[in-house]
Each structure stands twice: as structure tokens, then as C-alpha cells.
């Protein structure tokens, strides 16, 4: 009787990872992680120890003083709060708008539906810098600068979410709509009670991406929220830097980077399970 009776893998995702693949993966993961670990190590060193010698990051002693410095800043929690309001607001807004529009484009009939969809997709080609100044003028005319709506609204116009949700809605069997129609459900009710719950994985994914983009956005908050009590975390942390911070405040700078990333890491970890699953419909 042969000793090795393991089933060979003929379907992808079965069987053992070959050693060569594993080594390549480990190397690639090291390349991915090394800069991140380096950043964390730097953030754990005092600024003074790093001046002119970033190699000191590899040696003891480590300290949390940079994080304390961030946390004891007057306004850090205000900025954190602003960022949360803006990111959560944008995320909710995008989910609502894109779910509605995705359902509309995927399921309903109205004049110029296809044309409008293509028109929306064109938006993927519009660079932020191409519209930021007219946008700024527009928001000035509407008196929206230095306000939460002013920070949230531009994040709602992105076409990717509409594309994503439309594809996802299209993948849901039409039977369900029809069954609900026969069950006497109104269009809104079909959308709300039948289809929307089925898009939860997609909502999670789009939500993560939107939250991430909103959290990291820099240029718009920079020129729209000019009052420090309206800064988002990215802008606030940038304002807290001295010129030449890369030399004399390196540890602090890196601690800021880590600090600003923690919330999104948390969001990612919470929702990552849904991400791959829900992308399945996108590439159709």
C-alpha cells in the first residue's frame, strides 16, 4: 500500500502550497511588511534618538512618548472626532446613494438608463485636481466651507460605488423581485426588505473602501476646512508638523502615521471577511 495517499489537487485552492510558492509568498510578505514594521519601530523611538540616525530604530530602548505627545495635543481628539464624523457620514451617504442608484440602474426601466450609466462611469476618469478649484468656488458660493456637509458632499459623488452596487444588484436573481412583487410589495419595499439585505457583503466592502478613501483624503479638507477646529485628522496631523519634521521629529511623525492608520486597520479587520466574497459580482 502506498504511503502517500493525499488527494492531488486539481481544483484551485486545494492541496498543499508548493514550497517554492510558499517561499515566494513569505518573501513578498516580508517586502510588504518591512516598511510597516520599520514605521512602527521608528514611532517607538524618541525624536532625539533618531536625529541623523534612523538606524537607531532597530535598537533598544523603545518608548511610547511620541504617542503620548500625540494624545496630549489640544485638538487631536477633536480632529479624530471630525474625521469620524466625515468618514462615517460619507460612508453612510455613499451606501445610501449608491444602493439606490445601483438598484435603479440594475433593475428599473426609465428613459436613457444605459446612457446615464455610461455617463456615470465616465466620472471614473475625472481627476480630483481637475475639479477641485471649481468645486471650491461652488462650495464658497453655497457657504459650505468649514462645515461637515462641506467635507462630506464631495465624497458622495464618486461613480465607483454606483458601478459596484449595480453589478452586485445585477447578480441577484430577478425571481426575487418578482416574487416580492406578487407578494404585493411596493418598489421601495422590494428594495428595502428583499434586495438590500442581500447586498450586505457588498455594502461592507464598499463601506470599507469609502471609509478608507474618506479617512485618507487630504486635498479637499485642506482647502475646505481651514479652521483648525474643523480639521480632519490627516490635515490636523500635517499642521502639527514642523517644517523639517523628517529630521527633528521623525519618531513623532511616524507615530502620527501609525496613529492615523489604526482606525482604518480596525475597520478593515472587522469587515475583511466580506470583501472577497462580495467582489465576485463586480467582474462581470
Amino acid at each position: 500500500m502506498a504511503a502517500d495517499r493525499t488527494t492531488p489537487a486539481f481544483r484551485p485552492g486545494e492541496g498543499r502550497v508548493r514550497p517554492a510558492t510558499l517561499i515566494a509568498l513569505l518573501l513578498a510578505a516580508a517586502v510588504m511588511l518591512a516598511p510597516l514594521i520599520w514605521t512602527i519601530l521608528l514611532s517607538l523611538k524618541s525624536n532625539q534618538a533618531l536625529v541623523g540616525n534612523s538606524g537607531a530604530a532597530l535598537e533598544f530602548p523603545y518608548t511610547l512618548e511620541n504617542y503620548w505627545a500625540i494624545l496630549s495635543g489640544d485638538q487631536v481628539f477633536r480632529w479624530l472626532f471630525n474625521s469620524l464624523i466625515v468618514s462615517v457620514g460619507t460612508t453612510i451617504g455613499v451606501l445610501v446613494l449608491c444602493s439606490l442608484a445601483g438598484y435603479g440602474f440594475a433593475r428599473l426601466e426609465f428613459p436613457f438608463r444605459r446612457t446615464l450609466f455610461v455617463f456615470v462611469l465616465l466620472g471614473l476618469a475625472i481627476p480630483e485636481q481637475a475639479v477641485i478649484l471649481p468645486q471650491h468656488q461652488l462650495f464658497a458660493a453655497l457657504h459650505l466651507h468649514n462645515s461637515y456637509p462641506g467635507l462630506i458632499l464631495p465624497g458622495l459623488a464618486g461613480p465607483f460605488g454606483v458601478f459596484f452596487m449595480t453589478q452586485y444588484f445585477r447578480a441577484i436573481p430577478r425571481d426575487l423581485d418578482e416574487a416580492a412583487m406578487l407578494d404585493g410589495a411596493s418598489r421601495l419595499r422590494i428594495f428595502w426588505s428583499v434586495l438590500l439585505p442581500l447586498t450586505l457583503p457588498a455594502q461592507a466592502t464598499l463601506g470599507v473602501f469609502t471609509f478608507l478613501a474618506s479617512w485618507n483624503s487630504y486635498w479637499w479638507p485642506l482647502i475646505s476646512a481651514t479652521r483648525s477646529d474643523m480639521y480632519t485628522l490627516t490635515v490636523g496631523l500635517a499642521s502639527a508638523q514642523m517644517n523639517y519634521a523628517q529630521t527633528s521629529g521623525l519618531g513623532f511623525l511616524m507615530a502620527q502615521a501609525v496613529f492615523a492608520s489604526v482606525p482604518i486597520f480596525i475597520v478593515y479587520v472587522l469587515f475583511q471577511k466580506h470583501i472577497v466574497q462580495s467582489m465576485a459580482g463586480t467582474a462581470r
Binding site: 482647502i223 517644517n243 523628517q246
Partner: protein, 436 residues
């Protein structure tokens, strides 16, 4: 949203220099503060403590803050006092966005000639003063005296500075030969200011006219060619570094990897910290001087920080408060000098207290030999980038010197030719709508 308040005299101050509420959030002891951020924060705290109702509300912006300021102007809601580099004033002044500050100085009992020439010129456009002069900053040779000694370039405990171009080359070769390290640490990567500073400085030294009129630059001149060719040759010979950006160059200087790091006044404090810290490579071996005279006369391109007053409707109480604040700031000019920048007030620079600070005697001449660009030149920061990019390309050998200078001249002239023709007195497009 509005940054304006009622008629209680509150004023909004917007500045860069970083945020350090952690260490200085409530500090009012200006003398005890350190660093640009610490000193300015304590100063404002102190002013607020001394005046009823903490009238100054400050807003820290990410360096350099001009996109935000422009945005605020465009939205019709600028602050009351803004930190600004001298070279930028002409842009806003030409658009009629700034108030001349003579009335405020007068109200504060200050006279323009209390300020040094260099600092006053930096704030002057069309013979009007557009801000409270605050300091003068310019390029300096930060020197590692230990390496200089090793290279045999010390005399009487002081580094030997070249007195001509030929001498600098000789020193550099000798330095390289004896220490094996570059003589000059240059930040040529992602930093255009350093190159421009060098070029402007040595053109001024040769009495070359850089901007014959508001719409033209002249770079295709023998003087310019001389300067660029010289630094190119030096760099190509390996006497100056090629691959460093600013943080890398600073790090190299701090770890004793080169003889001279030409950069601004703002680094004195940081380097001095290392110089007095035992165990640091720079310990006890730091000296600093203005750029040496290489050609012509001893002159240097400088700039300065200025506090400007954007044009908008203000109550008399607010105006009074601005004047009061200016007066207070001027009184604390010496404290600011601890950052390394040259104070703007003549009496301070001449004071014993100032001269007693490390290296200050050596750099004091900047106040007299320093010249900013003429006030009629707009878009100085954009021009600085263009010129720096071309000079950098020439020094690193990516372009021929002639080509680089020709390109630089053409690009700057094209930029200037596009300036919209506006009279300086025309009002901003949106008036201060949010103020009563």
C-alpha cells in the same frame, strides 16, 4: 463658516511653524520655550494671558499654508493676522488682498526704521509696508569643525572660509583628500530652494540684475554661467553630494559625513543641540557662517517671516487689538531670535543679549549684507521652483549649463508673461461677507 466674531476685539491669527499644544499648550513663560513652535505658542499664550478675554485665537496650518490661505481669500473669509514668507507678499499685495500695515505700526507706536533693512525690504512692495517684519533668514554654511581640523582647514580655532572661488575649490579638494568625505553636503533631491538661494546670492554678489523689470528674469548672463558652472564642476568632481534630499543631507551633516552643509538659519538651533550633547558626532565641532564671498562683493539673498494683515472689514476694536499684538510681538523679537533666525528689530540685533547667544555674532552680518528680491517680483515661490529645478539639472549634469539657464529664463518669463494685469487696489472678488 466664519472666523469672525462680534465687536469684542477678538482676532484670528493663522500661522505655520507647527503645532505643539502637547508641550506648550498653556505655557506663558516665553523665555523657557524652545524651537519655533514652542516660542510662538508661548508668546501667544502670554499675550492672551495679559489681555482680557484671550483675544487672539490661533489657527495652525500645515506648512506653508498658502493653498489654505488662497482658499480662504477665494471664499471671502481670510484671518486677521497671517504668517507669511517675504517673497510671497507681492503676490497677495498685487491682488489687493493685503492691508498696508503702517497705520497699525503707528497705532502701536512703532516706526518702520526700527526694523533692519533686510527684514523691512522683505515686507515692502511698491514702497508700502505690507506686514510686521519678524525675522530675516538666509543661507548659512554650517560647518563640521572636527572634519575641518582633520582636513587642515582650521586656523586659530576657527574654520578657514574661502575668500574666492578658486580657494573654495582648493579647500574642497584638500578636504576630500584628507578626510575622504565630501566638502559640501547638498540637498539636490526634491529641494529646489537651496539651488536658487545659491544662484541668487552669487548673482547679487556680482551686482547682476536678476529681474530687470516685473515681467522678466535674466539668467543667460556670464555671471549666472560662472556660478552654475562652478558648482557643477565641484559636484562632478565628487566634492559635493549628488543624491541627497534635505532630510538625508541633514542626517549626513549630523553624523559627520561632510564638511559643510549650506542651509538656512532655521537649523542652527537643532545643530547646536547636537553640538552640546556629548556622544553625538557633532559634539563640540559645530560652527556657522554666512555664505562666503566668492565673487564680487559680500552679499546674500535673504528672506524673512512677516505677519501680514489680509484685507477685510474689521471693527475698530479688532484694529486696535492687531496693533496691540504687533507691539507685543515686536517687544518679544529677541525671544524669536533663539530659533536661529535673525531678529527684525535693529536694537535687538545690536543688543548684548543677542550677541551672547551661540554663533549669533557670526551670522549677524546677514542683516546688512542680505537682500530679498525686489518687491515688484511676483510668484517668487513658483519662480524659485523653476530656477531651482533648472540649476539642479545643470549641477547634476542632466542638462548643459547653457541649456538649463536658457530653459529657466524662458520658463520664468513665460510664467511672468501670464500675470493678469490687475491694479493692486482692486478689491478681492468676494468681499468679507461673513462679517457684520
Amino acid at each position: 463658516g466664519s472666523s469672525g466674531g462680534a465687536d469684542d476685539g477678538k482676532i484670528y491669527l493663522q500661522r505655520f511653524f507647527g503645532e505643539c499644544g502637547a508641550a506648550y499648550g498653556t505655557a506663558t513663560d516665553v523665555a523657557a520655550a524652545k524651537g519655533e513652535c514652542g516660542i510662538i505658542t508661548s508668546m501667544i499664550n502670554k499675550f492672551n494671558a495679559e489681555n482680557a478675554g484671550a483675544p487672539v485665537s490661533s489657527n495652525v496650518v500645515a506648512w506653508p499654508g498658502y493653498p489654505q490661505l488662497s482658499a480662504q481669500f477665494a471664499a471671502g473669509d481670510p484671518p486677521d493676522i497671517v504668517s507669511m514668507h517675504g517673497g510671497v507678499i507681492s503676490d497677495y499685495a498685487a491682488r489687493g488682498l493685503l492691508e498696508p500695515v503702517e497705520p497699525y505700526l503707528e497705532a502701536a507706536g512703532l516706526k518702520p526704521d526700527q526694523f533692519t533693512d533686510a527684514s523691512r525690504m522683505a515686507a515692502t512692495v511698491d514702497n508700502r509696508l505690507y506686514g510686521l517684519p519678524w525675522d530675516t533668514h538666509g543661507g548659512l554654511y554650517h560647518i563640521n569643525t572636527k572634519l575641518f581640523a582633520q582636513a587642515g582647514l582650521m586656523r586659530d580655532g576657527k574654520p578657514m572660509l574661502p575668500r574666492s572661488a578658486e580657494e573654495l575649490l582648493a579647500h574642497a579638494r584638500q578636504f576630500k583628500a584628507r578626510t575622504g568625505k565630501p566638502y559640501l553636503l547638498q540637498s539636490l533631491v526634491a529641494d529646489t530652494a537651496a539651488q536658487t538661494r545659491t544662484l541668487y546670492t552669487y548673482l547679487m554678489a556680482q551686482d547682476a540684475v536678476i529681474f530687470p523689470d516685473p515681467l522678466h528674469i535674466k539668467l543667460q548672463t556670464p555671471e549666472a554661467r560662472r556660478v552654475v558652472n562652478y558648482f557643477k564642476a565641484l559636484t562632478q568632481e565628487g566634492l559635493g553630494t549628488l543624491d541627497q534630499d534635505t532630510p538625508a543631507a541633514i542626517a549626513a551633516f549630523l553624523s559627520g559625513e561632510g564638511g559643510i552643509y549650506p542651509t538656512g538659519t532655521w537649523m542652527i538651533d537643532q545643530f547646536q543641540q547636537d553640538a552640546i550633547t556629548p556622544g553625538r558626532p557633532l559634539h563640540g565641532s559645530y560652527a556657522v557662517y554666512p555664505y562666503p564671498r566668492l565673487w564680487g562683493k559680500h552679499a546674500e539673498f535673504v528672506s524673512g517671516h512677516v505677519w501680514v494683515v489680509p484685507k477685510r472689514e474689521r471693527t475698530p476694536a479688532q484694529r486696535a487689538m492687531i496693533a496691540r499684538f504687533f507691539k507685543f510681538m515686536t517687544a518679544h523679537n529677541l525671544d524669536w531670535a533663539r530659533t536661529g533666525h535673525l531678529p527684525a528689530v535693529r536694537s535687538v540685533i545690536e543688543s548684548a543679549a543677542f550677541k551672547a547667544m551661540p554663533h549669533r555674532a557670526e551670522i549677524a552680518p546677514l542683516a546688512t549684507i542680505g537682500h530679498p528680491l525686489p518687491g515688484y517680483v511676483q510668484r517668487q515661490s513658483a519662480i524659485e521652483r523653476l530656477v531651482g529645478e533648472e540649476v539642479g539639472a545643470a549641477i547634476t549634469g542632466q542638462k548643459t549649463v547653457d541649456q538649463a539657464l536658457a530653459d529657466g529664463e524662458r520658463r520664468v518669463n513665460e510664467l511672468l508673461a501670464e500675470l493678469p494685469v490687475v491694479s493692486p487696489s482692486s478689491p478681492p472678488r468676494r468681499s468679507a461677507s461673513s462679517r457684520p
